[in-house]
Amino acid sequence: MRLELEGITKRFPGVVANDHVDLVIEEGEVHGLLGENGAGKSTLMNILYGLYSADEGEIRIDGTPVTFADPGQAIDAGIGMVHQHFMLVPVFTVAENIVLGVEKVSGFGKLDRARASQEVRELAERSGLHVDPDAKVEDLPVGIQQRVEILKALYRDAALLILDEPTAVLTPQESDDLFDAIRAFKAEGRSVVFISHKLREHRAVADRISVLRRGSIVGTAEPDEVSEQDLANLMVGRPVELVVDKPQAHVQDSVLRLDGLTVHDARGNPVVRDVDLEVHRGEILAIAGVEGNGQSPLVEAITGLRSAHDGSVTVGGTSIAHMTRKQVLRSGVGHVPENRGRDGLIAQFSIAENCVLNQWDMEPFAKRHTLQFGAIAEHAQRLVNSYDIRTPSITTPASSLSGGNQQKLVIAREFDQPIDLLVASQPTRGIDVGSIEYIHQQLVAKRDDGTAVVLVSSELDEVLALADRVAVMFRGELVGPFDMPVAKEAMGLMMAGTDPAEAMAKGA
């Protein structure tokens, strides 16, 4: 399928999301779509997939103009989309999920499960995306769930597959598997639109890369013609520092100490197993790992949101076992939660209110149980200025900020207080390159102030860029920490559960 988009324009109240976008996707081409958050990538793909209608412009498939009123029509025309958040029914089997909506029934409307299972098995064989058709989706790891999503599109005979940030949830090895699968589609003559903000991946898999900025295509290039630096500059619109400028760490006394820390989930299964760790002032200790390997409960246990089942957590020499979350925070712990929308911010609260969310009842923001709006506003204005939070005013609700600025708001609140220990979980997830650059600089600055920094990240590049020491979490166990540098391949292998000695040998 050769797909042409011509002059696609989409306006939302007060903003032009797509401004006369021209894009051609050739048959059998992997087309990378690169752009910051808010650049217009998803809007463009949602138009293509029939979720929005364009205000202007034309979509042509093999030269014939088409319009899609809903995704059903787009699917019929051979377009498949894998969303970043999977659209699967957890309690259904793989085969049931894949045939859902186009299921074949025998007489009396009975679902033909055996046939569905068989068809899915054959499809999986053919496309090289191996998956057990009879497994329940909720039991599968995310990497496999994504395969199910892709198979769903293939089952509907998609000639053009849109992958929206497909690697965000994958380990490096799983990403490589995905890239192999993408190359296989290409060999069959299918086209793929690959959306990502990771430059490296575009260079690995795309045949051509188009860069979107502020709703317009600002350039199209072949991956071997341009450097990552060029792409980053093009995407942001200014020269960007891809490498963090990080002076030598000055490691001082120990702040955080974990001894045999074991944490159970609500059902009593251990999710953090016997973790020993010591983190010192003036260093960044990174905890790498694929999400869901126990990082979240570990962080919650360190910061007093969850109690340890066994072992101890001491911050600055004091055990936090009998402290409330509030006491832990006020004893000098800053916490950037991994999900800012759920845990970091109150969307409907103003920026000013969010700035004092963790100190709302402390002087000078409150006196005799009365909020001091003057002091709060002053504080918020100072944070907005010094942390470069782009907002029309401090009374704007936090929900109105872009993802990067929301994260800067959380960072500002947590950093701008005297703390001994900073725990930052996925601090740059889903935000634009410009904000990532800034947040990385702030993390290093906090370290150089003499704060002990624990950085939990599933982005290997981030870990490599920032860590002074690195530990890998796999199935609740902590491997390491190791002094940097550690080879990227070795870390990737450890994230997939390979024995450290073996991983180091292979990765070196």
Binding site: T43, D70, I75, R342, L345, F349, G403
Partner: protein, 444 residues
């Protein structure tokens, strides 16, 4: 792309937030997976903000009060009331015998139908208006009816802002009124200055205790407050029915379930002889002002609002959602208890079976119409009070049943609960653009 910008529902009125509070631990809908959408949403939100009366941080209490009454959705609220009156007019017309008779020969002489309908509808609404506002007497009655509604409305609004649906206003009101009444008739010989505050305080505390129970159950065990408050309502009403049959409570010369009369020293004084409006109104407004301070200006209110909007983020910031739930429910119970006390000590003068008369339930509609805001709730309480008192005159003068008032109130809430319907009827431009967009999946 994994942009966690909260979605288009940042303008969600508190009542909707409350209805989903039970599943607060998983709120994936807050996460908008399309970054461009959120970017556009940002702009749309800014646009909205420019249009609306924005509540400036640190604004004076007066400004905030006005903003609370006139802010978000006032037009929709007014149109909802108007729409309810229109449908109410249809009901009045169709329930009128003369109009129905004229309707039977509508094709021959349609003017008869319209004339007849106009007569009965205008008569009904005019007498309702007169009954509510024309003269000191009607205004007094309006204020008397509004006094407990303001308090029971706030009894729902405070928990609502904390993400809880307090259906227990009725039971809390019964608890408060009964205890206040007990103090009112049982203690003899105290001066008003001591007896009245004592009775009021006892009533408020009893209500607070009766609200504390579902609060603790929710915070400690997760028992849903809607279920537990409904059940507690029944318990309170049935216990009241029982104690009114006991020797101790029952008035000796009467066989029906009526308690002994209040001592004069426990009664809320009236302002003018012959008019029933009493100190309870001032009390209710003073309490409303205190609640306003609590919800909008105090650290406690900050915590309650935070827990109501996002309990996860509140807990992460070091707040205690459990404690907030207990605080909010106890406060709600206290307000409903105070409402009960004003009814017994201000109007009734004795405890009767079912003295709460649905006022606790009506508080739910008052709070919803007031959008959980203190100012809005006071305004809604006054409106519903005027409808109650006006409805009585309407019934007396035109024979249209007082139940019409309940129909109108129900209709108002239906329209309030479906703002999209009101916008569609009156062709108000939809704010934002995401309203019709629900599916992101594989479509049909």
């Amino acid at each position: 792309m994994s942009d966690d910008t909260p979605g288009p529902d940042d303008q969600t009125p508190p009542e909707q937030t409350a209805s989903t509070s039970g599943s607060s631990h998983d709120r994936p809908t807050d996460v908008l997976d399309s970054d461009e959408l959120s970017q556009a949403e940002v702009e749309a939100a800014r646009e909205r903000e420019r249009r609306e009366v924005s509540v400036e941080l640190g604004a004076t209490i007066g400004q905030r009060f006005v903003a609370a009454v006139t802010g978000v959705g006032l037009i929709v609220t007014l149109l909802a009331i108007f729409s309810a009156l229109v449908i109410g007019a249809l009901i009045i017309a169709l329930s009128d015998d003369a109009t129905r008779e004229a309707l039977s020969y509508f094709t021959a002489r349609p003017s008869d139908t319209f004339a007849s309908a106009w007569e009965v509808v205008s008569g009904a609404y005019a007498s309702m208006f007169r009954g509510a506002f024309a003269g000191l007497g009607p205004i007094s009655e309006t204020l008397v009816a509004a006094t407990p509604l303001i308090l029971t409305g706030l009894a729902v609004a405070v928990p609502l802002r904390t993400g809880l649906f307090n259906i227990g206003g009725e039971g809390q009101m019964v608890a408060g009124g009964t205890v206040a009444g007990f103090i009112g008739f049982w203690i003899v010989g105290l001066p008003t200055l001591i007896h009245l505050p004592l009775a009021l305080l006892a009533g408020a505390l009893a209500g607070a205790l009766y609200g504390w129970i579902p609060g603790v159950l929710k915070a400690r065990t997760g028992a849903h407050e809607v279920i537990s408050t409904i059940m507690l309502n029944n318990i309170a009403l049935l216990v009241l029915a029982w104690i009114l049959t006991t020797e101790f409570f029952r008035r000796p010369d009467r066989a029906d379930p009526i308690s002994k009369s209040m001592q004069d020293s426990a009664m809320l004084p009236e302002f003018l002889t012959g008019y029933r409006v009493n100190l309870g109104l001032v009390l209710a407004l003073a309490i409303a002002a205190a609640i306003f301070w609590m919800m909008e200006r105090s650290t406690v209110g900050f915590e309650l609002n935070a827990v109501g909007l996002n309990p996860n983020a509140a807990a992460t910031a070091g707040m205690s959602p459990g404690r907030s739930i207990i605080t909010a429910m106890s406060t709600g119970g206290m307000l409903a208890g105070a409402a009960g006390a004003t009814v017994i000590l201000g109007v009734q003068g004795r405890i009767t079976d079912g003295f709460s008369a649905g006022l606790g339930f009506e508080g739910i509609t008052v709070a919803l119409l007031g959008r959980g805001r203190v100012g809005g709730t006071v305004a809604a309480g006054l409106l519903f009070g005027s409808m109650r008192s006006g409805g009585r005159l309407m019934q007396a003068q035109t024979g249209i049943a007082l139940d019409l008032v309940l129909v109108l109130q129900g209709l108002i809430i239906v329209f309030i609960a479906a703002p999209a319907l009101v916008r569609a009827i009156y062709r108000i431009r939809t704010e934002g653009f995401a309203s019709g967009h629900v599916s992101k999946g594989w479509g049909s």
